[in-house]
Structure formats: structure tokens, C-alpha cells
């Protein structure tokens, strides 16, 4: 929206100027000739004016570049993949179902569909002794996958589609090959876990009591069989077409083998499956000796014992009514239980977990369900297979595969490895138009497929647990790209916000330059006015001149902005870890450049217009005679207008309070106080009036940081920026009216005999031109204030490493949860060896973690936390040892739950419904204590099965492991597909990186990925620091503006004061002395700007800290003095460097020439 408006406005102004020029060619000619008269001066002016455009251009181009980088990454990651159909959690579904989804007719835009399997594995190259714990294994059908493009051989660049692959042959992408030093022909070992789809049984119970057989003592002292009952018990049950397995079990309590039981399942087609149990397969003949009957033990009466099983596999199962029968010939009276489970796949993992949780303990612990409980099945060891690298494929096209380490194999081979014959977990869809063009069709295809899925669900009558009901269509590329646009736009906004200070400085520079131009031409302007040029024409003349500057400066500004952006992009790329494929390409779009040009032009033009109006207000006689403007006495001051303005501003402030606009509520009263300056002049001397007004503005604005809570969002951000500008201007007004300070400095300088001649001249000139000095000073002070303020803020967010890592030195994750690492190390024969993973480990905790991706997975008091939970959520489950020993501090907690953080951690295990959250969940940078919610708030966790509410017991200080921390058992109840998370506490002095390597190597077979927690935390911290540095570098643009402006102002001052220079040289001032006058002048101004900028910067930062930040965990007040001094040193050197040329020119100036010019 803004782009067409800005462009249109620029065009209107351009056309307007041309028409105005045609209507008044003389004025236009005068203006244009003025611009071209002094080429060198014009160049200086143009350079000064381009700052605004440069900053806007740099922000826009950098934002575009970042978006292009993210976009490229997204496009490369997905390549031709536009739409994805799958069940969350990548559960496999029958391949036939996927075929149904993509059955003809499909929209024309669909170019291809491919049923694919995606699994994970740890891959080892035994020869090189290298491994990669977390690798993607992609099973694809070479024919179906053809529309997604070929693989490219990394060596000979030939294009291949995978038809050549044998069952144990794979392609390895370059990324993985580099890590493993793998080449074609090498053998790799894949350690993986079979895919598990939980089967949930529909249970049918058959209970009864067996009648006892009778026995009688025989003459030999034994017993003889007398009677055997031939009881048959039966029940029927339904088997559906989805049933994969039918399992039956029979339990009876008699511990002795005196019962003959037959468990029989009869299929609808009459087939019978019998499990015969007991010693008496047939009824014994009466009189045969039997074991004497004993009274059953008490416990046997209640426990289910002696189970016997019958298992009907998929191939035997038919839909229809089945019969369960129990034939019993019992030795004594006893109860029995028969149970039949009709096993159907449960695609809702949470539901499956909950089913097993709800099972009677006897049943759950029985071998009957041994391999079926998902929590059991998802943990435990993996399988291994050796594969041969057929080719290493280049990191392009589909081989990029989300920039992951990937192995590609034939679909059937992958299905066989992972135990999911006939199933896949991904259905990829590519639309016509290639990598980018597919985007146009993705949404319509998504919508079509959703309709198709609805049809399938309707026609099959799918239950909520069926795969049909859980399949989801995802226009993955479109969504990813929308996310990247959002991220880039936020970045652009932030850059523009911090660049706005430089823009304000640039505007001040423009006004300054035009004031100087007007001052320099005062004489001729006076003459022009005297010979009949109206004030309006004068403004027009200046505007024409300014327009020419505007045009060239905007054009140059765009180029400079591109250059600046190039540097920023370079900086961003340096922030990216070297092993990452993410790169930001420098991207300058025509739209961004045109917008920067238009915004820069409008900004400059508006300022030029203001400066022209200001210049036109000259007194003709004084201008012609070169007389200075007379001081205005109190009585002459126009006070009514400022008084009215102050009143209007106060009304505006009230409006601000009513509409909750902090900018209005804070800034309007400050400006009203400013406007009181001229009013006060009626009763007070000019200087006193300004000192009083500016002092009041400073006091009020500083107080406002404490009085008003910072408004959320852009209003609050802008209010800080605007308050900064107001403060600086007020402080500048105060300083330029403090003549006493200037005289003090002069006196101080006079102590040196060398500086005595220059002291007074150098200190009095800045006061002589208060407006110009004020603008220059404000500009520089503003820049310093912003840099100091940000430096302080960047400094106070230095996290405490121990709090971040919880005192643990090594952290590790594994896809497979291994409950007993010690035993695993023992089994591997590592204990006591060099490679013993526990060599330096004092103790460790095994936790589980789970990552949920999707909208609003967690809510706090009904709202999604920002930056977390919105799109994803992380969960950690712990047990008592962790609760007792961890060193993660709590920032705040419900004191009724415990007096120490560890007590609260324990309490969470004891009391259902409690959780602990990391600070990142409740963080709100704009809240007074940095938190949006506190302990006691309700945390809602949304899973596919429904929602669960918890109370937040405490808030952790750390931000490294951001998420929800809860009881492990509770977490297992919520999520089935958890991963292992381990925290190791090392012996004092142990090398955490070496220990992490040992641990990772020892447990690579379960895919363990271990890191030094300390290094990780430090890197996390350094990463933030680097981002801060990047922003600081951007803020330094303002410094460049400040430095350049002082150079320009000095250059203009030298030109303007040629006559004085000539006179000084005539009366015997040496070159050095003349140059020193200007140098001291610059240094005095710089020093004043530094004092204003540094003091206000620290003060504002402190006030914001006290009012808004102090309560945020891990934050402590501190001023990075060295950084500030370093910055001031750079500013000093740069400023001196920028003024060397004009200073030298002043020194070199021939006195005769200087005097002749004006005499």
C-alpha cells in the first residue's frame, strides 16, 4: 500500500516542479544556476542530503536480501515439493490409501505425486571411524519420484533417478558424505529403529469358572481319575477390514499343570485356530493315576496366571464375526479369564498411549501387551544394516532435502528395513511451473486434496483413529515462504526503527546545510528581495535548487544504501555458522530501490521546503548590509503564538492519554514546555527563559520513563525514539545557552599559552550561531545517545552461564530413549576403558523431550505466548534425581509449593497438574518485569487428543532450554513420540567438550548427539552478542552521519569565515593557529555532544532498566565503559579525520585572497 502512495506522491511533486518551472522560468533558472554555480559545494551538499535515502535504502535492501536468503533456503530445501500429505508425527499409512488420495482425476496443475518414506538413522562410516548421529533416510520410488527431478552425481555431474539402486544401495548427499568422508563404493552402517505404529486392541473378555475334575485315592496310595468335565465356554466378536491382528489369551490361577485347556478362535469362514494347553490333551481314561489335587494358593485366586496365547496374523484375518472358545478340563474348581484383542492400528499416538495407561496393571505388564505399548516400543535399542554408497549426489535439487544429512534408498528397501511393507509416511506433490511456479497452484491443490480426503473419510466411514482421519494436507512451500516474508519484514522494520535516529540526524544535517547556504547567500538574497523578488519566489528559487540536490542526493543515497546494505549482508553472513548452507544473497529489487529513492526524495524535499521558508524570512536591509540579526528583547517576543501552541499541545497530550498513544501523552507535554520558552521571555532574559524551558523538558521527559509504563508495540518503541530526540534537543538548547560553560572552557584552554589565542575565538563561535551549533550538536549527541543506550542494553542482558546450563556440563539428545546408559556402556565393553563415556561423569540425569510443531500448541491463560507456542512448543520430562540435583534456578515460584527451586521441581512430580516453564514462555520485553504471566497462571497443552490444563508452579531463569518442564510420566501420557534428553554433571576440572565427544561416540548407536552445555550456552550468548554487534554497526551509520556532518559544517564554516581567516592571518596568526581555531571549535562541539549523548544515553537506559527491565531474570545493571570509550575514541578520530581537509584549507588560505574576496 505504502509503495504506490509514496511513488505517486514523488511523481506528483516532480511533475508539479516541472510545471512550476515552466510557468516561472526565471526563478527556476536562478535556482538551478545557483545549484550548479559552485560544483564542489554542490557535491558537499548532495553528500550531506543523501543520508536519509541511504538509511532507508539500506534497510529495505537488507530486508529484501534477508528475505531472498530465507526464500532461497526454503526453495532449495523443498525444491519441487509443493504440497505434502502426511499424518503428524510421520506415521506410516497404507500405500493404497495414499494412492486413493491421488487417484485420478487430479487438478491439471499437479505435475507429479510420489509416495515416500522418511525415517531416521545414525550413520557410521566404519573405515573412517566417522559417524553422524542424526541422518534422514529417504525411501523413494524412482518412477513416481521422476517429476521431482533427478539427482546429480557429485563427481561426474550425470543426472540419475535412482533406477540403478539395489536393495542395499544408497545415494548419500554431499553434506553427509563430507562429514563421513564417504565415497561411492564405501560401506556405511545404518543404526535405526523400526517404525512403530501402535496397535490398539478392541478387547472382549470371557470369564467363567471351571468345574473340578474328581479323583479318588487308589490302593497304592495315589489318586485315580474319576470324572473329567467337558465344559465349553464361548463368545463372539467382530473383526473389521482394518484389523491387522487378532490375539487371544487365557489366564487361570492353578499353578499346577493339572488342567487341560484349549483356546480356540473360529473364523467366520469356519477355519479354526486352536492353542492346546495342559497335560491332558485328551480326556484321560478313568482310573489313570493323576497328581494329587492341592488347595490353590490364596494369591492364585486373584492373579491371572499361566497365560496361553493365540495369535492370528494379518494374512489369516478376515472381517466378520469370530468366535472365541475355551475348552476346559480342570483339576479343580477355579476361575478363568479369556480375552481376545482385535488389533487395529492407532494413528493417534496419544490415544494409543492413553489406552495402555488405562489398562489394568496385570494386563499391561503381561507379555500379552509386551510389544504393543507405544511408550515401551518407542524406547529401546535399534537395528543395524550395512549399505553401500552407490553415488554421492550433489547438494542440489531434491538431494538438498531440507539441508539435512540424507541417505536416499529405494522405497521397497526402506519399507523392508523399517518393517512397514506396503506403507509410506509422505505423499509428495509437485505442481507445474517448476520450483517457483508451483507456488501459484499450491493453495488450490491443497484445497482440492482436502476435499478428496473428506470424500474418502465419508465413503470409508473412517473412525477418528483411522489414518484417513489423521492425514493432513500441507501447502508446505507457500506456508514456509509466508513465514520468511514475515521474518524479513520484522527485520526490515527493526532496521528502519534503529536507522530512524540516523534519519533524524540526516534531517538535521539537511536543515543545517540549507541554513548555511542561506547564510552564505544572505547578501544576494537581500538584493534579490530588494529588486522585487517576493518571498514566495525566494522559496521557489530555493526549492528549485533544493530539488536538484534532492534528485541527485536521492540517487546517490540509493547507491550508498546499496553499499551499506552490502556491508550488512556481509555481516549477517558472517553470523551464520560456517557449516550452515544458509546464505543471504545481496538482493536489491527495483521496488526497494524505487521506494528508497521516493522516500528519500520526499524526506529531503520536505526538509528543503522548510529550510527554504526559513531562509526566505530575511530582513532585506540587514541582508544587504551584512548586519547581524539584532537580539530580540523580551517585549518584542511574539509570545502569543507559542502560548497558543503550548495550549494546543497540552490538549493533544490529553487526547494521547485518552486514546492511549504514548507518543502523544509523553511528547506533546514536552513540546508544550518547549513552547513556553518564548512565553517566558516576556518576563525573563532570553537565555534564562530558554534554560528554564529546556530544563523543564529534560526533567519531564526523564521522569516520563518512570511515570509511564512503556506502551507495547511500535507506539512504545517510537516513544523511546521520539523521547530520545526531544531529550537531546532540550539538552542542546540548554548547552548552547550556557555561556558560562563556554567561558569556563575558554578559561581552561587559556591556561595553555599555545591555546590562549584560539581559546576565546573557538569557544565563542559555536555560541554565536546557536541554531547551527544546536543542530550539529543535537545530531551528534543523538547518535551518541543511541549508541550508548543500545550498548548499555546489550550489556545488561548477559546471562549467567550456570543458571543457563543448570550446572550440567554436557547435554545430549537421542532419538531412541535409553533408560540405562550405564548398562549399555557395560555391554559395549567400554566401562573402564579410555573410551568410557562415564570417565569424567559425576552423575547424570535421563530426561525425555518432545517437540511439537503447529499452531497454538500451548496457551497461557488462554493466550499463545509470543515467539513460542505460536508455532511450536518444546517439552521436557524429568524424574526425581533431576528434581533434587539440578541447578536451574527459578526466577519466581509459588512459595506455598516449596522454599527452594528444587523443592518446587520435586513438588511437580508429586502433585499432578503442576508444571514449570522456562522464562522464554512468559517473556514479554515490554512488560515492567519482563514477564507477561507469572506463577499460578494456567498452561494449556493442546494435543491431537485434546487439551490438558496445568498450573505454572515456577518460572525458570534459563533460556537455553526454552519450554515446559514436567513430570516424565505425565509427559509420556501426553506424547508418545518422545526422545531421550540427558544432562551430565562432570567431575571438577573435566573437559566438557572431550567428555561430550566420548559420550556421543559411545552411544552413537542410539543416535546420541552430545554437546558441551557450557560451550553451547556461550555460543548461544555469543550469537546474541553478534546480532547485537550487527545492530550496533547499523547504529554506527548515525555516527557516520554525525562525523560527515561535522566535516561538512566545518567545511562550510571555513568558507563562510574567509574574511575572518584573512584578517587573522594578516595580523600574524600562523597556519597552525588558524587551523587550531577550527579544530578546537570542532572538539569543543564534539565534547559537548559526547557529554550530552553519553550522560543522557546512560540515564535513559538506567531509567528504562529500573522501570521496565530490572525484574527480568538474568539481567543486571552495568555500563560497558570500555565499549563506550572505544566508540567515543573512534568518533573522535573519525571526526578529526573528517575535518582535516577543511582545517588544512583554512590554514592554507591566502590572507590576501581571503580578504580580497569580500573586501
Amino acid at each position: 500500500m505504502i509503495v504506490p502512495v509514496v511513488l505517486t506522491l514523488t511523481i506528483i511533486i516532480g511533475v508539479g516542479l516541472i510545471l512550476l518551472g515552466l510557468g516561472d522560468p526565471l526563478t527556476a533558472r536562478l535556482g538551478l544556476r545557483n545549484a550548479l554555480r559552485h560544483r564542489r559545494q554542490t557535491l558537499t551538499v548532495v553528500i550531506g542530503l543523501m543520508v536519509g535515502t541511504m538509511v532507508v535504502g539500506a534497510s529495505l535492501v537488507t530486508g529484501d536480501s534477508l528475505e531472498a536468503g530465507l526464500r532461497d533456503t526454503a526453495l532449495s530445501s523443498l525444491d519441487e515439493l509443493d504440497v505434502l500429505v502426511r499424518i503428524p508425527g510421520n506415521l506410516p499409512v497404507p500405500s493404497g490409501l495414499m494412492a486413493e488420495v491421488t487417484a485420478d482425476p487430479l487438478p491439471d496443475a499437479v505435475e507429479g505425486t510420489s509416495r515416500t518414506f522418511l525415517g531416521g538413522a545414525s550413520v557410521e562410516h566404519p573405515v573412517e571411524d566417522l559417524y553422524e548421529p542424526s541422518t534422514a533416510v529417504v525411501g523413494f520410488d524412482p518412477i513416481e519420484d521422476r517429476p521431482f527431478g533427478p539427482f546429480v552425481d557429485a563427481t561426474d555431474r550425470s543426472e540419475i533417478y535412482g533406477d540403478e539402486l539395489g536393495p542395499r544401495e544408497v545415494y548419500v548427499n554431499e553434506r553427509l558424505a563430507d562429514k563421513l568422508s564417504a565415497e561411492a563404493g564405501d560401506t556405511l552402517t545404518l543404526t535405526y529403529r523400526e517404525v512403530f505404529v501402535p496397535l490398539v486392541p478392541e478387547l472382549t473378555f470371557l470369564n467363567g469358572t471351571l468345574a473340578a475334575a474328581s479323583a479318588a485315592p487308589d490302593p497304592t496310595g495315589g489318586y485315580v481319575y474319576q470324572h473329567a468335565p467337558q465344559d465349553v465356554y464361548e463368545t463372539s466378536f467382530e473383526v473389521s477390514r482394518r484389523t491387522e491382528q487378532v490375539v487371544a489369551a487365557l489366564f487361570w490361577p492353578d499353578p499346577f499343570n493339572t488342567t487341560d485347556l484349549d483356546l480356540e478362535l473360529v473364523a467366520p469362514d469356519g477355519r479354526s485356530f486352536v492353542e492346546d494347553e495342559g497335560s491332558m490333551a485328551a480326556a484321560p481314561a478313568p482310573g489313570l493315576p493323576v497328581t494329587p489335587p492341592l488347595p490353590p494358593p490364596e494369591e492364585a485366586k486373584t492373579d491371572r496366571m499361566n497365560p496361553t496365547f493365540l495369535d492370528i496374523g494379518t494374512e489369516e484375518v478376515v472381517a466378520g464375526e469370530w468366535t472365541l472358545r475355551v475348552h476346559a478340563k480342570a483339576a479343580r474348581d477355579q476361575p478363568f479369564t479369556a480375552v481376545v484383542g482385535v488389533m487395529e492400528p492407532e494413528y493417534d499416538l496419544n490415544k494409543a498411549v492413553r489406552f495402555y495407561e488405562s489398562l489394568d496393571e496385570d494386563l499391561r505388564d503381561s507379555p500379552f501387551f509386551e510389544d504393543l505399548d507405544p511408550s515401551e516400543a518407542l524406547s529401546g535399542g535399534g537395528k543395524q544394516v550395512n549399505v553401500t554408497v552407490k553415488r554421492v549426489v550433489a547438494m542440489e535439487g531434491k538431494a538438498v532435502f531440507f539441508y539435512s544429512d540424507a541417505v536416499f534408498m529405494r522405497l521397497d528397501a526402506a519399507q523392508s528395513l523399517y518393517g512397514i511393507e506396503g506403507k509410506v509416511n509422505w505423499l509428495k506433490i509437485t505442481a507445474e511451473g517448476g520450483r517457483l511456479g508451483g507456488l501459484d497452484h499450491a493453495r488450490s491443490i491443497e484445497s482440492f486434496l482436502n476435499g478428496r480426503l473428506d470424500e474418502i473419510r465419508m465413503s470409508s466411514g473412517a473412525a477418528p483413529s483411522d489414518p484417513e482421519s489423521n492425514l493432513a494436507v500441507d501447502a508446505i512451500k507457500v506456508e514456509w515462504l509466508e513465514g520468511t516474508q514475515e521474518a524479513a519484514s520484522v527485520f526490515t522494520q527493526f532496521l528502519t526503527l534503529i536507522g530512524s535516529f540516523a534519519i533524524v540526524a540526516g534531517v538535521m544535517l539537511i536543515i543545517n546545510i540549507f541554513s548555511m547556504l542561506a547564510e552564505e547567500r544572505k547578501h544576494e538574497l537581500g538584493i534579490s528581495r530588494a529588486v522585487g523578488l517576493t518571498r514566495g519566489k525566494l522559496v521557489t528559487m530555493f526549492t528549485f535548487e533544493g530539488s536538484l540536490y534532492t534528485f541527485f542526493s536521492a540517487a546517490l543515497g540509493v547507491l550508498a544504501g546499496m553499499g551499506l546494505s552490502l556491508l550488512l549482508v556481509f555481516g549477517i553472513n558472517r553470523l551464520v555458522p560456517p557449516d550452515s548452507y544458509f546464505r543471504v544473497p545481496f538482493t536489491a529489487t527495483t521496488e526497494a530501490l524505487a521506494l528508497a529513492f521516493a522516500i528519500g526524495s520526499l524526506l529531503t524535499f520536505a526538509t528543503v521546503l522548510f529550510a527554504s521558508w526559513r531562509a526566505s524570512r530575511l530582513n532585506v536591509v540587514r541582508a544587504i548590509r551584512g548586519l547581524p540579526e539584532p537580539a530580540v528583547s523580551g517585549r518584542e517576543v511574539r509570545w502569543k503564538m507559542p502560548a497558543a501552541l503550548a495550549g494546543a499541545l497540552l490538549v493533544l497530550a490529553l487526547v494521547g492519554i485518552l486514546v492511549e498513544s504514548q507518543i502523544l501523552a509523553v511528547v506533546a507535554p514536552a513540546l508544550a514546555l518547549f513552547a513556553m520558552g518564548p512565553v517566558l521571555m516576556r518576563w525573563l532574559p532570553r537565555k534564562a527563559a530558554w534554560l528554564m524551558a529546556s530544563g523543564a523538558v529534560i526533567a519531564f521527559t526523564l521522569l516520563s520513563f518512570v511515570l509511564f509504563d512503556l506502551a507495547p508495540g511500535i507506539d512504545g518503541d517510537l516513544s523511546i525514539a521520539v523521547r530520545g530526540v526531544v531529550l537531546v534537543i532540550a539538552a542542546t538548547v540548554l548547552v548552547v545557552h550556557l555561556d558560562a560553560a563556554s567561558r569556563g572552557v575558554a578559561r581552561l584552554l587559556s591556561l595553555s599559552r599555545h591555546l590562549a589565542p584560539v581559546a576565546r575565538v573557538a569557544t565563542m563561535y559555536p555560541l554565536h550561531r546557536r541554531v547551527r551549533t544546536g543542530l550539529t550538536l543535537s545530531m551528534y549527541a543523538l547518535v551518541i545517545l543511541v549508541i550508548v543506550m543500545f550498548s548499555v542494553f546489550f550489556g545488561i542482558f548477559t546471562p549467567d552461564l550456570t543458571r543457563q546450563t543448570g550446572g550440567y556440563e554436557v547435554m545430549a539428545e537421542s532419538e531412541i530413549i535409553e533408560a540405562d546408559l550405564v548398562a549399555l556402556a557395560d555391554t559395549a565393553g567400554l566401562t573402564g576403558t579410555e573410551a568410557d563415556p562415564f570417565r569424567d561423569v559425576a552423575r547424570f540425569d535421563t530426561l525425555i523431550e518432545h517437540f511439537e510443531f503447529g499452531e497454538e500448541r500451548i496457551l497461557v491463560d488462554g493466550e499463545a505466548p509470543e515467539g513460542f507456542g505460536g508455532r511450536s512448543a518444546h517439552f521436557y520430562g524429568y524424574e526425581r534425581p533431576f528434581a533434587e540435583n539440578n541447578g536451574f534456578g527459578l526466577d519466581e515460584w509459588d512459595r506455598s509449593l516449596g522454599s527452594t527451586p528444587n523443592e518446587v521441581f520435586e513438588r511437580v512430580l508429586e502433585e499432578p497438574g503442576l508444571v514449570i516453564v522456562s522464562y522464554s514462555i512468559v517473556a514479554d520485553p515490554e512488560a515492567k518485569d519482563g514477564k507477561r504471566w507469572h506463577s499460578g497462571a494456567t498452561l494449556t497443552i493442546n494435543t491431537t487428543a485434546g487439551q490438558s490444563d496445568y498450573r505454572i508452579a515456577g518460572i525458570m531463569e534459563q533460556t537455553l532450554f526454552g519450554g515446559v518442564w514436567m513430570d516424565k510420566a505425565e509427559m509420556e501420557r501426553l506424547f508418545a513420540d518422545n526422545e531421550g534428553f540427558y544432562l551430565f554433571d562432570l567431575e571438577p576440572g573435566a573437559d566438557s567438550e572431550a567428555a561430550a565427544k566420548r559420550i556421543e561416540r559411545a552411544f552413537r548407536f542410539i543416535g546420541m548427539d552430545a554437546h558441551s552445555a557450557e560451550v553451547e550456552a556461550r555460543e548461544f550468548d555469543q550469537q546474541s552478542e553478534r546480532v547485537f554487534q550487527l545492530f550496533q554497526a547499523y547504529l554506527a551509520i548515525g555516527l557516520v552521519v554525525g562525523v560527515a556532518s561535522i566535516g561538512i559544517v566545518t567545511s562550510r564554516a571555513v568558507l563562510e569565515r574567509r574574511r575572518e581567516i584573512g584578517m587573522l592571518k594578516a595580523i600574524g596568526w600562523t597556519r597552525r593557529l588558524v587551523a587550531t581555531v577550527f579544530l578546537v571549535e570542532v572538539l569543543v562541539m564534539l565534547f559537548a555532544a559526547m557529554v550530552i549523548g553519553v550522560s543522557l544515553g546512560i540515564l535513559v537506559a538506567y531509567l528504562i532498566y529500573v522501570a521496565q527491565v530490572a525484574a527480568i531474570p538474568g539481567v543486571s545493571w552495568g555500563v560497558p565503559w570500555w565499549d563506550i570509550l572505544e566508540m567515543l575514541g573512534v568518533a573522535l578520530v573519525a571526526t578529526i579525520a573528517a575535518t582535516i581537509v577543511p582545517l588544512a584549507r583554512a590554514g592554507r588560505m591566502s590572507p590576501a585572497e581571503a580578504l580580497r574576496t569580500l573586501e
Binding site: 551584512g626 548586519l627 547581524p628 539584532p630 587559556s750 599559552r753 590562549a756 589565542p757 576565546r760 575565538v761 565563542m764 563561535y765 555560541l767 554565536h768 574574511r1059 575572518e1060 584573512g1062 584578517m1063 587573522l1064 592571518k1065 594578516a1066 595580523i1067 600574524g1068 596568526w1069 600562523t1070 597556519r1071 593557529l1073 591566502s1150 590572507p1151 590576501a1152 585572497e1153 580578504l1155 580580497r1156 569580500l1158 573586501e1159
Partner: protein, 273 residues
């Protein structure tokens, strides 16, 4: 030393007391070399291919205590001559000797110091620094020669007293009239007691009344301190109040036409002899 040398000058009396008659030329002191002497002084300006000969071999001599006017039409080279004589502008050829010192044999630094010690300047547009008070402006030549601030202030006030402006010492130029500003400029030119004062159109920006005042002041200071005043002027009245006039035309010194006033001056000198 400077203060001592100027304190014997009487403060200005009322304007009416200043005699308006041709000044008697100072007594030639036998073989004493002239204070200022030039030898075939030439100055050519180049602007691209265009060459303008501003001075075409000027030879002149000015004695200590003389009050000399340089007159001539616009563009004849008066100001260029003054600039070359005062060391402000390098001549293309020829020499300028001040008290026997070849001005252009000195380096820039030495020449600047020489100027600071030996010369005072009065300009048409006063050239006071607008940011300084009258006293501070007058102090400038002293400070540059290393005089301590306190002493410089005392001498500046004394110089202002001599030009009749002690009451206006703390006023800035903007608060002074044109005549007052020029008096401040004269005080500045004398405060460090230089033997020569160069005045380029010192009355050019003043009305006739103020011009007469300034010339009376110059005459008095010249008479009382025996300083040499070299005055560039268009005004024959001003020139008439000098001991002699150097006439310039087309970059050359031309003989002075015999006017009744000149005849009178010649007769007066004869009578004195």
C-alpha cells in the same frame, strides 16, 4: 614594553581640535634606510590563459613616521600593492624590504611572525570578529605573540582608551557603530606597537563625519607615536591629510600631478628647510 610605548599617547580630544591642514613630512634622518622599500615589484594574476599585470615594476620607499596615501582609480593595483608590501600576497617578482629585511626571503611562518611583530592592519569593513568583545578583538595580536592574558587585557584596554572607547570595551561589534568599530580596529592595529600600520580604505564604510574622526585619530597617533601609516584610499581629502601620496595607474607608480595643495605642501616643506 608595548604598553609603555603607547601610554605616552594622549587620549583623543574633541574632533574640532584636530587640525585640518597638510601634514608636515617627517624629518629625513640622514643615511637611515627607508622603513619600506620595493624594487621592481611585479604581480601578475593568472586565471586560465588570462594574465593580468596588477603591478608592473613598482619602486618606492617609505620612511619611518611617514603617513602615506596610495591613490589611484579602481583596478590600478592599490590593494595589490598594499598586500605585497605587507606580506599578505607573494609578488611575482621584485623585492620588498621592511627595515632592511627582505620580506619574501622569509618563509611563510617567519613572514607571518614578522608581520605579527612589525605590522598592524586596518580594513575597510573593520574585520572584527563578531563573536568577541571590543577588548577581546584588540587582544588578538597580543595573544598571538605570546603575551599573557592578563597583560593582554590591560594593554587592550589601554589601546581602547587611546581611541576613546574604554567605555565600550565589553561590547561586541554588533553593538558598536561603524566609526566605533573602526576605532576598535585601529586600537587592534596599534596594541602591539608595530612600526607600520597598513590601512586599506579605512574610511570606505564610514560617513564623512566618522571618516574625519578616523583620519584625525590616525593623524594624532602618527604624530605622537611616529608610526608609519600607509593608507589606500579613493578619497582625495583623506590623501590630502597624508604627508604624501603615491599615485598608481595601471600597476605603476605615476608622478603626482602638481595641484595647488601639492604646491602648498612643497612650499611648506621648503620654508621649514
Amino acid at each position: 614594553m608595548h604598553a609603555a610605548s603607547i601610554t605616552h599617547i594622549k587620549p583623543p580630544s574633541v574632533r574640532a581640535a584636530v587640525p585640518r591642514r597638510p601634514a608636515p613630512e617627517p624629518e629625513p634622518s640622514g643615511a637611515e634606510p627607508p622603513l619600506v622599500a620595493t624594487d621592481r615589484l611585479r604581480k601578475t594574476y593568472r586565471s586560465g590563459d588570462l594574465e593580468t599585470e596588477a603591478l608592473r615594476g613598482v619602486d618606492l620607499a617609505i620612511r619611518q613616521g611617514e603617513r602615506v596615501a596610495i591613490m589611484g582609480p579602481s583596478g590600478c593595483g592599490k590593494t595589490t600593492l598594499l598586500n605585497c608590501l605587507s606580506g599578505l600576497e607573494d609578488p611575482t617578482s621584485g623585492t620588498v624590504r621592511i627595515q632592511g629585511t627582505d620580506l619574501y626571503a622569509l618563509g611563510d611562518r617567519e613572514r607571518t611572525r614578522f608581520r605579527a611583530r612589525m605590522m598592524g592592519f586596518v580594513f575597510q569593513s573593520f574585520n572584527l570578529l563578531p563573536v568577541l568583545t571590543a577588548a577581546e578583538n584588540v587582544e588578538l595580536p597580543l595573544l598571538v605573540t605570546g603575551v599573557r592574558s592578563r597583560s593582554a587585557r590591560e594593554q587592550a584596554l589601554e589601546a581602547l582608551r587611546l581611541v576613546g572607547l574604554s567605555e565600550r570595551a565589553e561590547h561586541t561589534p554588533a553593538e558598536l557603530s561603524g566609526g566605533e568599530q573602526q576605532r576598535v580596529a585601529i586600537a587592534r592595529s596599534l596594541v602591539h606597537d608595530p612600526p607600520i600600520v597598513w590601512a586599506d580604505e579605512p574610511t570606505g564604510n564610514l560617513d564623512s563625519e566618522n571618516s574625519q574622526d578616523i583620519m584625525a585619530l590616525i593623524e594624532r597617533l602618527n604624530a605622537e607615536t611616529q608610526k608609519t601609516f600607509v593608507i589606500v584610499t579613493h578619497d582625495p581629502d583623506i590623501a590630502g591629510r597624508c604627508h604624501r601620496t603615491i599615485r598608481m595607474a595601471s600597476g605603476q607608480v605615476v608622478p603626482e600631478p602638481v595641484t595647488p595643495r601639492a604646491k602648498g605642501r612643497a612650499r611648506a616643506a621648503e620654508a621649514k628647510r
